[in-house]
Amino acid sequence: MSSFFGKASIDKEKTVVYYIVNGYILNGCIENGYTIGGAFLSRNNTFATEQLTDSAYYILLSLLTPRHGYGIMKYVEELTEGEVTIGPATLYTLIKKMQEAGYIVLGEGEDERRKTYTATEKGRTIIEGEINRRSRMVDHGKAAWKSATEGINHE
């Protein structure tokens, strides 16, 4: 009986992921308790532009090469020179979600005890888009800053 329920709930989750993957992620899904995707897709976005939260962004970046859990935490800290640190509960939550969404897969680890993860093709596409989007945001910021300070100089 318990295995039956276990299976049923997994299938339900899969269906939800399937919906999200196919671009139907709406705020409504999240509000109703279907939160797959909610943790790593920015909650304020209503459309299916799959924006990553900062934590998910850094985790996915670190999985461009295969890494295990500890490796992810260490790499993110090194990459950002200690500016960003990821807590283990946040990391675990996001690994599970991204795995369910097909952004990352469990690698064939040499070491059986240590699970390694790698970004999938889909994950790579997402992260590439995200790097570009964030880069454009920086450009916008700089442009706005520049025009504002130039405006002051003219007066």
């Binding site: 308790g33 939160t35 909610g38 943790a39 790593f40 909650r43 939260t53 900062d54 934590s55 859990g69 500890y70 935490m73 640190t85 990821i86 807590g87 283990p88 509960a89 946040t90 990391l91 675990y92 939550t93 996001l94 005890r113 240590r114 699970k115």
Partner: protein, 182 residues
Amino acid sequence: MNRTGKTRYMSSMGLAFAEEKEMKKLGEMAEQGWLLESFAFLGYRLRKGEAQKLQYSLDVHELKPSEQNEYFELFEAGGWSHVCTQGKLHIFSAPPGTVPIYSDKNTMYEKYNRVIGVWRMLAAVFVIFSIVFHLIYRQIVEAQGITLLSNVFLVLATLCFALAVPSLMTFTAFLVRRRRFR
């Protein structure tokens, strides 16, 4: 609080209502040499040990047996020692200054979201059943007066109501908690 030699019991108000307060209290107890050992009925069991500065954190994750190793290893790698587990509740401890187990709001929101569904359903079931049983009770009383059957429904309605109140309170507490991380 009872003391029995080397162990001691600390009561819990319920994690929905006082999670932070109780985690802080556990830290204070550790400073006095009373270290958390396990969950106990409506509380915690502490054991006498070396006094130390520790912070405690609670996580909620339903783990399949195959996921347990990975989960606990992640915490270990993050500097958090696993203390005890009951169902999907896990408590970890770490020296002060360790990176918190949750480092962003979105995943903290998720943490409470994982428990809120169960309480929403429980509260709804008890509320609905207490109303339904009460209506049945009134129907019977109107039709036949007070009988054994009407009393059975009255008891059932009262029982459901008595359970609906704490479930509603817990559900609301989690709702408020989750709201902080929106």
